[in-house]
């Protein structure tokens, strides 16, 4: 099957591994990620100002592009996913906002949030299925103790994101089990890494990241896995010797489409 794909800016430079292995792995699993033409940056933050439409137009354009092809829209980066999913939710549920956006863009057909938005993890869980993935694993990551790191954006606000329980999630742990490794549960897996304050208060960001890394280590983890480029950057910058990998890297490794084995 084919799906529309919104990689996002970071995946075109810093987080290129997240992008490459997302595509490769999806191909193995029978899904082609078709990149949206001329997509624009999601803006990085979903503005909660209700009369603000300018920062959300890029997301609407991507959503509309997917809708025109009648494909679901898949994202990988936690931040992009958060912005696009929240924008889509607003298009569905906030009639005034949707009208303003449609009036501004003046498209032939109004867009009202019809597109189904999947995070890559949801694509794996809900469309492909973790059981199918288990069947396609050629290089199971046996014996590896992997701590899933959700960060703050992937699950919240939970009423809109609707991915998993924000306080006791298991989608990434189920993913880790599916590729043959052993998930490690630790309390700080859904706390903020401090990424958003890393410029203005590096000490605070370090404090947050250190606490996460220590907590994961104390719980016995060999490695941390995440879907968020900003989280990975922050954890590595402040980090110890704990490797921090993207979900797609591990998936590619397990599916045998990643050349070097890392970690």
């Amino acid at each position: 099957m084919k799906v529309s794909y919104f990689p996002g800016c970071t995946l075109k430079n810093k987080a290129i591994d997240l992008d490459i292995y997302a595509r490769k792995s999806a191909e193995v699993l029978g899904v082609t990620l078709e990149e949206i033409e001329e997509w624009q940056c999601c803006g990085g933050v979903f503005s909660t100002a209700r009369d603000e439409i300018a920062t959300k137009l890029a997301s609407v354009r991507a959503l509309k592009a997917a809708h025109e092809k009648n494909y679901p829209l898949v994202t990988v980066c936690s931040a992009c996913h958060n912005v696009i999913k929240q924008t889509n939710h607003a298009m569905q549920n906030d009639a005034e906002f949707a009208q303003k956006v449609n009036n501004y863009m003046a498209p032939e057909d109004a867009y009202n949030g019809e597109t189904q938005v999947y995070h890559y993890l949801e694509l794996l869980r809900d469309v492909i299925g973790f059981d199918t993935i288990k069947g396609k694993v050629v290089n199971p990551l046996k014996g590896q103790k992997i701590a899933a790191y959700y960060g703050c954006l992937l699950l919240r606000p939970s009423s809109t994101m609707q991915m998993d329980d924000p306080e006791n999630p298991h989608i990434m742990e189920d993913f880790i089990s599916a590729i043959g490794a052993q998930p490690v549960i630790y309390a700080l897996r859904n706390e903020c890494c401090g990424g958003y304050v890393t410029m203005e208060s590096p000490e605070l960001a370090k404090k947050k990241s250190d606490a996460i890394l220590e907590n994961a280590k104390a719980a016995g983890a060999d490695m941390i896995v995440t879907a968020c480029p900003l989280c990975r950057y922050n954890l590595l910058k402040n980090g110890t010797d704990m490797p921090v990998l993207y979900i797609t890297e591990l998936l590619a490794q397990a599916l045998g489409v990643k050349e070097d084995t890392n970690g």
């Binding site: 009423s159 329980d165 306080e167 006791n168 549960i185 630790y186 309390a187 700080l188 706390e191 606490a211 220590e214 907590n215 104390a218």
Partner: protein, 664 residues
């Protein structure tokens, strides 16, 4: 032709403030059948009622319309007034011009116009009213109490004390409920068992009370005064009348690894067990999910050691049918699941516990024999953090917790904190709260003592995250009064979980046709004036099934429910509601549509011989309504395709006349 009197009430300024009452009484004067119309300040007052009585006599009225408040408030009052003046009470109609008119409008002309229309509709209906006489039904002088916690126990004792037989149905193997699991009770700190168990013994010894333990109500039919109830008595594989409660079997049973629900799974029991030492009835029960004999057919140790010969592996579930005049619901509560609150790490650490688990940890009969020890390593905790309102007052997270205040947590947390400091002065105790709510006799004084005499650290603010690391629980919280973040390395975290109605309450409410609110608490007939009665006649409410309550409140409500039951059972006969369905046998074609929609099972069919117009006879199948069972809901009148079914007092012709009057 009727001679109708119209009486418009001002209700002080409640109605007269937005409705021109003079204009209403003037306008209704000219309606068909109306021979008298007036208005008065308070129609429900003695003087107001006298105006009605006098008018009935003077103008030989055959029907009256009172334009006043909701019929739920004063219909009964005005029916009595009419009856006292010699008029059939069912010739009275109420036009609700208060709740449905003056209270919802601000504009006098609009309010007045609507009041006139509502009055016209009521006049149109009275024109078609006919006198009705209620029937009488006998009362079964036996009460059923569902739930054997402190609420059910107190209700049963009070009813029995008045001389009426009572049955208690309890789904657990013993009565006692949550109170039996508590350690001390606020604000006097007397031990729960010391004040509860004598009552349990009273229940056991009272010859008016029967206990159906390990049993559930599976079906309820009938109506007030005459309920037919089916009780399922689960097989406990022990003959109740033979078992002496010696407990030998519970010591010898080789299956030792069964989570002990009485201690909330913090220790284990055997597959055959007596929940606690003072259980009533003190009879062993075999847990079929764990018993090796029942699962594999091999073992039989309990049977071998039982000198009384009470073990019966072949026992089957038993169904008992019994008649009752009144039913009291006392199904109680449970703490909510902590699954959705993992920010407190309840699923991650054994040392994060709920307050009910804390009760067991400090109870002398609990898993640690009353010593406060951490569940993970059995060490004494030196820093304890109590978190209040876990899942209570959750307006932003309704899908996760409850919007209401669970009411009991502030007091029991103060109790836990105080007792900990009293017994273990070397322990640091923190309590995080949103608000401390301690209204109640000697309650606030109790909480102040915890703060002032026992140096418990009360912090206004919520805990955001609990992180288990090593043997510590890292608690991150905010102190809202100093606006600072707090980090505490705790040894034990205690969560005051919100309470919710027991899961058995919802299906039970369906069986009883008793209403519930969105939180599954039973609804009372009137929140202020009839707080222990359900809107369904003959069903009464006791304890936390109606809303969060502490023990003193529960006991008061239990007594109040009992007195309502006694009032009902003291009557020999009940006056029924004459506004019930009846079928026109000439129009009925026996299609069964009405029988299918009747929620009360009031409709049956019979074959009847008819003399036809051509002088032949024919046998036809027709519907017959049992007026004692019919509740007058009217579902059948809507379902009947031939229009044979009609409701007395609410006939289709009367409703249509009202609609016509409104639309004219």
């Amino acid at each position: 032709m009727q001679r109708i009197g119209v009486f418009v009430c001002w209700c002080g300024s409640n109605i007269a403030g937005t409705v021109d009452v003079q204009a209403v009484s003037d306008a209704l004067k000219n309606e068909p059948g109306v021979v008298f119309s007036t208005n008065y300040q308070y129609m429900c007052s003695q003087a107001g009622q006298d105006i009605i009585k006098q008018a009935i006599a003077e103008h030989k009225l055959t029907g009256i319309v009172v334009c006043s408040c909701s019929p739920r408030m004063h219909e009964a009052t005005f029916r009595k007034t009419a009856a006292a003046a010699g008029l059939n009470p069912y010739m009275v109609e109420i036009a609700n011009i208060r709740e449905q008119c003056s209270w919802v409008h601000k504009d006098m002309p609009i309010g007045t116009e609507k009041a006139i229309i509502l009055g016209k509709a009521a006049v149109a209906k009275v024109n078609l009213n006919t006198p009705l006489t209620p029937g009488e039904t006998p009362v079964t002088k036996r009460a059923l109490v569902i739930g054997g916690g402190i609420a059910g126990i107190q209700t049963a004792l009070d009813i029995a004390d008045a001389g009426f037989p009572v049955d208690i149905v309890e789904k657990k193997p013993t009565i006692g409920g949550k109170m039996a699991q508590l350690d001390k009770t606020f604000p006097t700190l007397d031990c729960a068992a010391c004040i509860l168990t004598p009552k349990m013994v009273d229940v056991a010894q009272n010859d008016k009370i029967r206990i159906f333990s390990y049993s559930e109500v599976t079906d309820v039919k009938g109506f007030v005064g005459n309920f037919d109830v089916t009780i399922k008595k689960h097989a406990r594989y022990v003959k109740e009348d033979v078992c002496t409660g010696c407990g030998l079997c519970t010591e010898k049973c080789p299956q030792k690894k069964v989570p002990n629900e009485f201690n909330l799974g913090m220790d284990n029991r055997r597959a055959i067990y007596i929940p606690f030492a003072q259980a009533v009835p003190k009879v062993a029960t075999i847990d079929p999910n764990y018993c090796t004999m029942l699962k594999t057919g091999k073992c039989g140790v309990c049977s071998k050691v039982c000198t009384a010969g009470a073990i019966d592996y072949k026992q089957k579930d038993e169904f008992i049918e019994e008649k009752y005049g009144a039913i009291v619901v006392a199904t109680g509560y449970n703490p909510i699941s902590m699954d959705k609150f993992d920010e407190f790490a309840y699923s991650q650490s054994k040392d994060v516990i709920t307050s009910l688990e804390f009760e067991r940890l400090t109870n002398a009969a609990g898993p640690t024999a009353g010593k406060l020890l951490r569940p993970s390593d059995g060490k004494h905790p030196h820093t304890i953090v109590f978190v209040q309102c876990v899942g209570s007052r959750c307006d932003s997270c309704a899908q996760k917790g409850k919007e209401y205040c669970s009411k009991i947590c502030c007091m029991y947390t103060a109790k836990h904190a105080m007792l900990t400091r009293d017994k273990y002065p070397d322990t640091d105790v923190y309590v995080f709260y949103i608000d401390v709510r301690t209204p109640g006799k000697n309650f606030d004084e109790f909480y102040r003592r915890a703060v002032e005499e026992y140096d418990v650290h009360y912090v206004k603010g919520m805990v955001g995250k609990v992180t288990p690391e090593g043997d510590k629980l890292k608690v991150q919280a905010s102190d809202l009064l100093t606006n600072k973040q707090m980090h505490i390395d705790a040894d034990l975290v205690v969560l005051a979980a919100a309470i919710e109605p027991d899961k058995s309450a919802r299906p039970l409410a369906t069986m009883l046709t008793a209403s519930m609110d969105t939180n599954d608490f039973f609804t009372e007939a009137h929140p202020k004036l009839r707080p222990v009665e359900s809107p369904t006649a003959g069903v009464f409410l006791s304890g936390t099934c109606q809303g969060p309550k502490d023990i003193p409140e529960t006991v008061s409500q239990a007594g109040a429910a009992a007195s309502k039951v006694i009032g009902l059972l003291a009557k020999d006969k009940l006056t029924g509601n004459p506004c019930v369905a009846h079928s026109d046998e000439w129009m009925c074609n026996g299609c069964s549509s009405c029988e299918r929609v009747c929620p009360y099972g009031a409709i049956t069919y019979e074959d009847k011989e008819f003399r036809m117009p051509d002088r032949t006879t024919a046998i036809r199948r027709i519907a017959v309504v049992n007026p004692a069972v019919c509740q007058g809901c009217g579902a059948c009148t809507v379902a009947c395709p031939s229009g044979a079914m009609d409701l007395r007092g609410f006939a289709s012709s009367q409703i249509m006349a009202e609609v016509d009057a409104i639309c004219k």
